[in-house]
């Protein structure tokens, strides 16, 4: 069964995404932050990583870089509810530059999330 690692510091959102993905037939792992996510991925790589950007310990941008350095073929979908800008680019633009395959702005429709995960698994 295809697998997804969900990295998000917000418990409610992480569990909601887990439930939606499990209902859709995926095997799901969870991590509360970038460092924990990297450890879990090392221990058991998944087909897709859903990565939140604004997290307290190691943020998503840093975590994408770390993941991609160690696992160049990792498929990351970045997501954020943040509106912060770096120059005239927002965090999701930067995440793409750092190697995220797709980006999703929170709040999202579950259908959008599931379609993005399916597209990456089939890519």
């Amino acid at each position: 069964m295809p697998s997804v690692l969900v990295i998000d510091d917000d418990d409610q959102i992480r569990r909601m995404i887990r439930e939606a993905l499990e209902q859709a037939g995926y095997v799901v792992q969870e991590a509360r932050g970038g460092e924990e996510g990297l450890k879990r991925y090392r221990a058991s790589p998944t087909d897709v990583v859903l990565m939140d950007i604004l997290m307290p310990d190691q943020d998503g941008l840093e975590s994408i870089l770390a993941l991609r350095q160690e696992f160049p073929s990792v498929r990351v979908i970045a997501m954020t509810g943040g509106s912060d800008m770096i120059g005239i680019m927002n965090f999701l633009d930067v995440a793409k530059m750092l190697g995220a395959c797709r980006t999703i702005q929170k709040p999202f429709e579950l259908q959008t999330l599931l379609a993005a995960v399916a597209a990456e698994i089939n890519a």
Partner: protein
């Protein structure tokens, strides 16, 4: 009048602002920055010279009369802040902002004048005011922006949970169950909030000035959709936006700012009494005859943006007067002066013209004319007005999180001033 008893010269000598002390209408002391501004090298060149040699007559007239100063009347009054021009010994005419304070100078009542020159130099008071207004506005926006970014992040996360769990719950509830409809309503409300946040983000996203060919009707439609939720419910909004307008050469961000400021001013005027906010946008041909009667508007084709309130807005005389945020101590009036300053600055920078008609009683009509891009001027003769649509509706006011300068929180329902 309160007098400052001591005036520390050593301190004034270090200031980057120009400091001038005048007694009985004549200069007594000028600090080094002041000498530079006055075009003098030594103090002796300016001491004893009348203040009227260096300042606008208008500014002189705003200072408390010497007689009153001498008799130490008007106790309790504060100093004045004003804008105008300074004339240097070298013949330069410089736009300045001047703060005056009554002091005692060697036991004699005197004016202490602190003078700030427009950063860019030159003699354009409007530019000085616009720059200051923009600095205040941008600092305010930065602060609001930092707060808003945090709030938006939290709001988006909350909405993600609301929408996500709502959709998960919906799958579990049979469609004929009443709870199914209730959850659908929760999801619909979540989506609506999400859309509103996205619209605010689109507006707030910084962009470098990009002036190019712009269809103002498209921008107006998009932006008005966002503004509606920030207009109090006791103000009826009537829009007549032509389905198409000729292209103009403009910066979209500046046009949004212009629209926001014009509407904010009309809303400010009607904030207590309520009324009708009427917004029109269409192409308009100005004939030679009209041009002769209109205020400095050459004949030709224009895109005309017109914002009307139904009473209490600025009148023609007020709009023509150079903006002066320092002329009032009332925070709301000062915001209004800044908005006016921004309107004049933006329109002037785009080669446009502002014409104000009406009166405080009957309502004010502010018309902004932008020249149509030359190559497109004759394209749509038949489309003028024909395709305009009219909507009149009362929008429910709510605290939408729109940047503060648009509608102040203190704009509460209440009796009119």
């Amino acid at each position: 009048m309160e007098y400052v008893p001591l005036f520390p010269l050593a301190f004034a000598d270090q200031l980057s602002e120009a400091v001038i002390v005048a007694t009985e209408g004549n200069l007594r002391y000028v600090n080094p920055s002041g000498l530079l501004l006055l075009g003098a090298e030594r103090l002796e060149q300016v001491t004893g010279k009348p203040l009227s040699r260096f300042l606008d007559p208008d500014m002189i007239s705003k200072l408390p009369p010497w007689e009153k100063l001498r008799r130490r009347e008007d106790r309790g009054a504060t100093g004045a802040i004003m804008t105008g021009h300074l004339f240097g010994l070298d013949g330069r005419r410089v736009a300045i902002r001047l703060s005056s304070l009554p002091i005692l100078w060697e036991g004699v009542p005197a004016y202490l004048l602190v003078v700030r020159q427009a950063r860019a130099g030159g003699d354009n008071v409007d530019q000085l005011l616009l720059t200051e207004a923009q600095q205040v506005a941008s600092s305010k926006i930065r602060t609001v922006g930092m707060l808003a970014a945090g709030i938006i992040h939290e709001a988006n996360n909350t909405l993600t949970a609301v929408l996500g769990y709502g959709q998960l719950a919906l799958r579990l509830i049979p469609a004929d169950n009443k709870a199914h409809r209730h959850v659908q309503q929760v999801i619909a409300s979540g989506r609506k909030s999400s859309e509103l946040i996205q619209q605010i983000l689109m507006f707030a996203r910084p962009s470098p000035e990009t002036r190019g060919s712009l269809s103002l009707h498209m921008l107006a439609n998009e932006f008005l959709a966002l503004l509606r939720s920030a207009i109090p419910s006791w103000i009826v909004v009537k829009e007549e936006i032509a389905d198409i307008t000729s292209p103009i050469e403009a910066d979209p961000a500046q046009m949004r700012l212009l629209l926001a400021n014009l509407i904010a001013d009309a809303v400010h005027a009607m904030r207590r009494s309520g009324g009708v906010l009427h917004i029109q946008l269409h192409d308009e041909d100005v004939s030679t005859d009209q041009a002769a009667s209109d205020d400095g508007l050459p004949a030709g084709r224009y895109v005309c943006l017109r914002v009307m309130d139904s009473g209490g807005g600025m009148d023609a005389r007020e709009m023509r007067r150079p903006p002066d945020p320092s002329a009032t101590t009332d925070a709301l009036d000062r915001e209004r002066e800044m908005r006016r300053s921004a309107v004049l600055g933006i329109v002037s920078a785009h080669g446009g013209t502002v014409i104000v008609n009406g009166s405080l009683e009957s309502g004010t009509r502010v018309s902004v004319f932008f020249p149509v891009t030359a190559s497109c001027g004759m394209q749509k003769e038949e489309s003028r007005f024909s395709a305009s649509r009219s909507r009149a509706s009362a929008y429910r006011g709510q605290n939408s999180g729109f940047p503060e300068p648009l509608i102040e929180e203190s704009d509460a329902v209440g009796p009119r001033d």
